[in-house]
Symmetry: C2
Subunit: 497 residues, 2 copies
């Protein structure tokens, strides 16, 4: 009887998961392949699929099954896979049953349309073009927050979509630990003269060869191309359509061979997480990264702690020189100095490790003011620029380098940005725990073998999928809670010197 109920629940949850993955295919196609003339209809298709997913999850029969199984699984210390699945279902149905299906569909349609308009607005640096779309998305996101948190923490309604388990108060506490130290380090860096670009990097770097270089970087850290691929898009992203189909995108800058490499390392970091989930969880809602902060901890770990370090470049510099012979005079120390220079800049995704989180703090602040009504969309470009001056000491030359740079808000991804800074913190905690557990891992990495690090991450993070919260995974893997201190200490060691 209980087995039949569990099977019936599992079937519905897996169908929800399959419909979400299908929406992922639509989204991937929209970003990489679809002609713009298809955008309006695609918004309807995307809305219909996400509505069907929502209705599958919150229909009366699913809710009855979740309730019926509560006595069996409500012990919080039950670590069985079935209990983890039930807990996921209990949490998600409790949250999502508060949302009307029409709102889910409207939001999906509005964000699909807004992303299309955002791309044009960014290309033209024309905020006025984007403004009505953003206003529409924000109004729907506010209705969503009000439906989810009728009496409580409104911002958590956004945050919890990406980071279930952390409250807005948790984020405030962690960010208040981070900000003073970070700002002081950034001010010191800004006062130093910018380092000159090595002459060997002044040429053009052919895109076809950059593609080979990016794939080599992904392969070095262990990305499995038989279960994934790298494509091209305006705004790089990764998506896991299934355990056997994990996709990344990158973009190419002909004047800079590093931009693509770091983009690939970042996105492949996400991809490794998705490829590393226990196959027993395949095609269930537990197949995927636990939270976005944990996901960003993986992308930032490979991009920064590995990708800007001496062991990685010891192994990878020969590949760069081989693929681009014009860099054959470039020395290891010169590369390390180049990829670790720190200077305030306009674009978050191109920011150095030191100033990166300041970009995030700005967005977090703006989102809270937009939600409370203290800031209107029309005032956003000015507030953005004022925030950049206050936090980073620079003023964007135009909105393309300012408020229009990120796709997130057009996609309805409010409450997402904090997870980047949280991911930075966690990345250092995990890297240090891994180094303690696998003392030879950096030596292996400098010989081109990332397996010791990757297998530790697989064991301690990836394989669990969504069976545990970010906080649980960090406590188990690192022996303590999520904390800003190790990250600040790491940055101080690197940039205060």
């Amino acid at each position: 009887m209980a087995e039949a109920a569990l099977d019936a629940l599992r079937e519905r949850l897996n169908r929800f998961h399959a419909l979400n993955a299908a929406a992922g295919v639509l989204d991937w196609d929209m970003e990489t392949r679809m002609p713009r003339a298809g955008a309006a209809s695609r918004a309807l298709q995307y809305g219909a699929v996400l509505r069907a997913a929502h209705e599958t999850l919150v229909d009366a029969q699913t809710l009855r099954l979740v309730d019926a199984l509560a006595p069996r699984f409500s012990r919080a210390d039950d670590e069985s896979g079935d209990a983890a699945l039930w807990r996921w279902a209990e949490r998600e149905t409790r949250r999502r049953r508060l949302l009307p299906a029409a709102l889910v569909e409207d939001l999906a349609r509005a964000t699909a349309r807004a992303q299309d308009v955002w791309a044009e607005a960014r290309a033209k640096s024309d905020f006025a073009l984007f403004r009505p779309e953003l206003e529409r998305v924000l109004a729907l996101k506010r209705r969503q927050a009000e439906a989810l948190a009728p009496a409580g923490d409104l911002y958590y309604a956004w945050l919890g979509e990406h980071e279930p388990g952390l409250t807005t108060a948790d984020v405030d506490r962690l960010f208040s630990q981070l900000e003073p130290g970070l700002s002081a380090l950034a001010r010191a860096a800004a006062a130093r003269a910018p380092s000159a670009r090595p002459p060997a990097l002044s040429g053009r770097f052919d895109v076809a060869r950059q593609r080979v270089l990016g794939e080599a970087a992904a392969r070095l850290i262990g990305f499995d191309f038989s279960r994934g691929m790298i494509d091209e898009s305006a705004h790089p992203f990764s998506c896991a359509l299934s355990l056997g189909d994990v996709r990344l995108t990158t973009r190419y800058d002909e004047s800079d061979p590093f931009s693509n490499v770091f983009t690939v390392l970042h996105e492949a970091g996400h991809g490794l997480y998705e490829q590393g989930v226990d196959p027993a969880l395949a095609d269930t809602p537990l197949c995927g990264g636990a939270t976005m902060a944990l996901h960003e901890s993986q992308s930032r770990l490979w991009e920064n702690l590995v990708g800007r370090g001496r062991p990685f470049w010891t192994a990878f510099l020969p590949r760069l020189r081989e693929i681009f012979p014009s860099t054959s005079a470039l020395g290891l120390d010169e590369v390390l100095a180049h990829v670790n220079r720190a200077q305030p800049s306009f674009i978050r995704v191109e920011a150095d490790e030191l100033t990166y989180s300041l970009h995030v703090l700005l967005r977090y602040d703006l989102e809270r003011r937009l939600l409370s009504g203290a800031l209107r969309v029309a005032e956003l470009p000015e507030a953005w620029n004022a925030g950049m001056r206050a936090r980073l000491g620079v003023t964007p030359p135009d909105d393309a380098h300012g408020v229009l740079q990120d796709v997130h808000w057009s996609a309805g991804l409010f409450g997402y940005f904090p997870t980047y800074a949280l991911g930075n913190m966690i990345s250092v905690q995990l890297y240090e725990a891994a180094r303690k557990a696998r003392p030879g891992m950096e030596e292996c990495l400098s010989r081109g073998d990332a397996q010791p690090l990757l297998s530790w991450l697989r064991e301690n993070v990836h394989r669990h999928g969504r069976a545990f919260s970010a906080e649980q995974i960090v406590r188990r893997a690192c022996g303590g809670p999520i904390s800003a201190a190790p990250y600040l200490a790491y940055l101080r060691g690197k940039y205060a010197a």
Copy 2:
């Protein structure tokens, strides 16, 4: 009140359409981009989307709305768009409500899996690998037919999915008009010595240049690349994801520059139909080709009546010579003789105009025997080869050139093949009606202007979408019913000389 009911029905029908289009995106991606390791999960995703579409169409509320609106729209001569939509809904719900949702989902999953295995089996020419998949698909298709036609014409349950409006008896009657004349012409052609390959066609033809040539052919006949694209896949196909997003695929043979050109003309013929639907029908279930026979009439018209004719090559030969200078010695008559040679061969999609329909008649015969139980899947390769000998006088050297050549059965597309031969018949009826209505159209075509023909097709066929049946469209456009006689007369004029 009636307006509210109509709006509510329209919303549901459009959501059904959007979910089907979403399944189209999944399918397109599966054929062109997905890594094979993603196949098993993709089958689940595809099943979930098609199940959601089905449930949207046949849920109690949709059925109530269709019934409630019957008094308003049941007059068969009501040509309003609303009446056409209601008629479509009445027919499709009457048909689909007989199908259990679980069967729809099982069939979608089984066909997604079977297509993946079919591709491998064809590559290895290994029918044994494919056999269990085909048995599973056939068993589900038989259950589907039994659910749809509990007491009647079982084969129509398959046929009607692609060709609503024509019964199995109609097809039998049309094919019995076609077969004797066709067989006699084919026997006469087989007795003639095969024509030699022009020496200018003996080289290698670079794929990148073939891509340019194919795009030039599509552009010449009017395909709109701002609302579509050409990609590559193992089995060429076309799909309309929306009015603004119509996709074709082709494949390249480095030893033959014509194969890709004819594939593109064929698939772009489908694409022109989809791009030509009245924008007022966009994002509704009436947006698309009326039936598959009409669809194939469009692809075969552009591939054969245009693409193998003197006017087209008068305009296009200079492009071929320009892109492949090695063909600059090739004369117009030589090209026409080459692309119109007729000889029995193994592969349907590469068959000449004369023998093509014989391949179809074979498949129609085998499908009927599979459905009745007179033929088992295990016996299929032998029955295929025997049928090829009897109808075309040739024996396939292996199953890759025989029973494994087509994707259709793996995709559950039983009852589809007849529409190719019906499309051949209709293509001649429409082409002749167009030539009568636009006497200068071939002269325009020989100057590279396909608009007179295209605009006639737009007016008389494309714009109507699914508002009328194939028979209605042919009667209006050509002044008579679908008939084999014009097609046979055309073939006689061309091949009996």
